[in-house]
């Protein structure tokens, strides 16, 4: 990092030595923590006993409230939610599964589409750009409906009948917008590499393909990682949409649970419970993304 007066004070590296040897161990620890926090972009709070007290009080209040709401004669809401947890967990695992599958398919095709957008053959680049924008502009739910209704339930490949169950079609429907967004991520990352890289590669007699594969793309992976993870988060919260088109996942199972319990006071806790599940899965990913973004940020 260049050090001058324009560097904000908080970004200047800390002095290595200090005149106060007495403070050394603490100062070093604080400096390390400050460095970590700068990288992470948020204060890494040390847990204190009062935090545990606060969580405990909140939990007891919520439990008491929920218990009071349950009314006489019906089992407590917490027990009911606990009873359905294994089933909901299975549904949630299915959501994670199709999110991973759709991400894999979408990323693969997205990279190809993104590279096609960068092609020097104008018709190829134009077509790829059109496809990208088309799928980026279409709502996820509409694409899902499209795939569910218009893909056949089985296909014949070389005389072999391959069945296409609903969840496969839904996964394919989810991977279409992922593909389009991935294509834009690839294009953006490649174009963010300074032109000097291309020029110096060609002065070393690299062909265009060699430059792309050996010089440009390796530099792009770091830049593409944070937006790619962001996309994965968006896809994961998008997987619940498949319940709307009739594929059984966590929301469908929650609906079944609610149907068999048939209690109006259970609606809010169950939906909130699912929200918390998704939050616990996606929030760490989001934090990690922010961390990587700062780590790989280009220092101007």
């Amino acid at each position: 990092m260049i050090e001058d007066d324009r560097t904000p004070r908080w970004r200047r590296p800390l002095p290595r030595g200090t005149d106060l040897p007495v403070l050394m161990p603490e100062a070093a620890r604080l400096a390390r923590q400050a460095e970590r926090e700068r990288l992470a972009g948020f204060r890494m709070g040390a847990l204190e006993p009062r935090h545990a007290c606060f969580v405990l009080i909140a939990f007891l209040c919520a439990a008491g409230y929920v218990q009071a709401q349950a009314g006489a004669g019906s089992p407590p809401i917490i027990d009911t939610i606990w009873k359905w947890t294994p089933l909901l967990a299975k549904g949630f695992a299915f959501n994670i599964g199709i999110s991973a599958l759709a991400m894999a398919i979408g990323t693969g095709f997205g990279i190809l589409l993104g590279l096609a957008q960068l092609s020097r053959a104008a018709p190829m680049a134009k077509t790829a750009s059109f496809v990208t924008h088309f799928f980026r502009n279409a709502p996820w739910l509409v694409l899902l409906f499209y795939c569910m209704f218009l893909l056949p339930f089985k296909i014949t490949l070389f005389g072999v009948v391959v069945p296409l169950p609903d969840w496969v079609k839904a996964t394919f429907g989810l991977s279409l917008p992922v593909m389009a967004n991935m294509s834009e991520i690839v294009r953006g990352a490649v174009q963010s590499i300074p032109t000097g890289q291309w020029e110096s590669a060609s002065s070393f007699a690299f062909s265009r393909r060699q430059t792309l594969w050996m010089i440009i793309l390796p530099q792009c992976t770091k830049r593409m990682l944070p937006p790619w993870m962001n996309l994965y988060s968006i896809l994961t919260v998008g997987t619940v949409l498949v319940s709307v088109v009739g594929v059984s996942e966590v929301m469908t199972l929650a609906g079944d649970a609610l149907g068999s319990e048939n209690r109006a006071d259970l609606l809010m806790p169950i939906y909130f419970y699912i929200l918390v599940w998704f939050f616990l899965y996606c929030y760490p990913i989001a934090r990690w993304t922010v961390y990587l973004e700062r780590k790989y940020a280009v220092d101007f």
């Binding site: 409906f145 929301m251 939906y271």
Partner: protein, 243 residues
């Protein structure tokens, strides 16, 4: 006009492409109603989510740590959970408690859709506005102060116009996403474009045609919105700032 509509009946008779939304007055009215609802829904959500964004960004600059914490967790919670489940939570969960004695819901599903989607998009907007405000150098504010601007005046005439221009691309991106996300209010039976299309294709059994019409309408609508926002973005660009 009638001849134009009737030509689609001829199209159906000759090719089997059944576009009821053109030759059937009832379906046509339904579809136009759905399109208008989608546009109204999107417009209301855009306005409300921008208001939430500005208010949230202002609250995040608060001196009270509790306020900042609350805004932070609001953003994180709404960003990292499925908007569809949020909508269910509001409509079925919270809505279950907001009923008259006769069981009539006090808040209509359209209202819940607007509230839920705006809260969702608003969470993103808060972050966007805050990053815009933070990107205005402190020296600019100091320069304004040295010209005798008051704090509020500096905010109103210097910081906000600059911040707005800086965050416009990110804001546009989010608003475009919001317009697309309005389609999930299908799940709580808001009669928007997707919902009426589903009604039409189950009445007239023309799934394939309606799916294509729907896709074209959405891509067209969002494309138009993207185009307009891009034009605006370019007109508002700060010369010499960014690429």
């Amino acid at each position: 006009m009638n001849a134009f509509f009737e030509s689609f009946r001829w199209l159906y008779d000759t090719t089997g492409i059944n576009l009821t939304i053109f030759y059937d007055a009832f379906d046509r009215r339904r579809f136009i109603g759905g399109f208008v609802t989608t546009v109204q829904l999107a417009a209301s959500c855009i306005v409300l989510s921008v208001v939430i964004g500005i208010a949230g960004a202002w609250l995040q600059g608060s001196r009270l740590r509790l306020t900042r914490r609350v805004v932070y967790w609001y953003i994180q919670f709404f960003r990292n959970t499925p908007p569809l489940v949020q909508l269910y939570f509001f409509y079925f969960g919270v809505g279950a408690y907001l009923k008259t004695a006769g069981g009539v819901p006090l808040v209509a599903n359209v209202t819940w859709a607007i509230l839920g989607l705006s809260m969702y998009a608003g969470a993103f907007n808060v972050e966007i506005f805050r990053s815009g405000i933070e990107s205005v150098p402190k020296a600019t504010v100091e320069a304004a102060e040295s010209f005798g601007f008051s704090r509020l005046q500096a905010y109103r005439y210097i910081v906000l116009p600059l911040a707005f221009r800086v965050c416009l691309p990110a804001l546009n991106n989010n608003l475009v996403n919001l317009v697309k996300t309005t389609s999930i209010s299908y799940a709580i039976a808001v009669p928007e474009m997707l919902y009426v299309s589903a009604q039409i294709w189950s009445d007239s059994v023309n799934v394939k045609e309606m799916m294509n019409v729907l896709l074209i309408c959405y891509v067209g609508l969002v494309g138009l919105f993207v185009f307009a926002m891009h034009r605006w973005e370019r007109a508002m660009r700060v010369p010499g700032y960014g690429a």
